[in-house]
Symmetry: C2
DNA sequence: TGCGTTTTAATTGTGATCAATTGAATTGAT
DNA sequence: ATCAATTCAATTGATCACAATTAAAACGCA
């Protein structure tokens, strides 16, 4: 039992009190759930996210992709090279601005999207959330992310 | 405008609809917020989590630490060696069971905890959440994590 | 006791993440 | 037109995360 008159030394924080650890460990668990689900497509989770982006909007620069995924070229360049090595995308310099690299789907890469349509459903089942609960949670997390990113911009 | 009579080919999922991407990107943003805050302690975010664990319960095995943090020895062993190299912890074989490695704080490591007490407050400010909102969100994320881990156990 | 099984941490290899730097291309201001 | 500043992707080096494997220690059961 803690002494109510114990000296006022600063106490270290507790792991399980932290929203941050909950977010971190939920994220790790999620990636582990994706692994067997994505095995059929032979994609890692970040690779899957990049493909999601490209299935929506093709022929974009590395910068634009990174802005959507919140990843920089140090992460994306090797990841995209692996996707290119598998023939899912092509990377080519923009003829009008040689600094830019445009990323475009190949036919193989586009075709892979047809096989991805049931993935959200399977992940949704693992999460045990209803459609509505998942929507609400997604909104809250996006709001949290946006506030964290705004803080980063200010600091 | 989409053609309501378009063929029923399977459509790939949309990035911004995904709870998963919201969780993933919020987690990345959180780590970036921690970076400057933890700079004063010269700890990375996973190292900080390990120290949080140890400030609560000292002299634990690598297994026990990994169970709380959801990390395996492949992640923890090098991380703990770095903390040991900085003199914050010591790692020694359990005399009663030489398979086990017990991790204990040094005086330096314990003293670092006193300087960590204001970190949750500073992160809380960056998150823009009230104490109550953060508590509620933490509970929901822990519940989600537990369901994902239960699914992993079943599969 | 002896020996197969289990437990535990460490190691190896792949991939992801980011900070910092590099080098090339472009832009802009004069 | 020139040249400094900016933009963009790539690279390097450090850390993290995990699957698969290894090796040693401990356990269990005949």
């Amino acid at each position: 039992m803690p002494d109510p008159l114990s000296p006022p030394t600063a106490a270290p924080p507790k792991l399980d009190d932290q929203l941050c650890f909950a977010l971190y460990s939920a994220g790790l668990a999620l990636t582990k759930v994706y692994r067997p689900v994505l095995e059929a497509l032979d994609l890692t989770y970040p690779q899957y996210l990049a493909m999601l982006c490209l299935w929506e909007a093709d022929d974009v620069t590395v910068n634009a992709l990174g802005a959507r995924l919140r990843l920089d070229s140090g992460t994306l360049t090797p990841l995209l090279k692996r996707l290119e090595g598998r023939g899912l995308i092509v990377r080519r310099r923009d003829p009008g601005d040689e600094r830019r690299v445009r990323v475009a789907l190949t036919e193989t890469g586009r075709a892979l999207g047809d096989r991805a349509s049931d993935i959200p459903l399977r992940i949704g089942e693992a999460s045990g959330l209803s459609r509505e609960e998942a929507r609400a949670e997604r909104r809250r997390l996006v709001a949290l992310r946006d506030r964290l990113e705004a803080w980063l911009d200010r600091n």
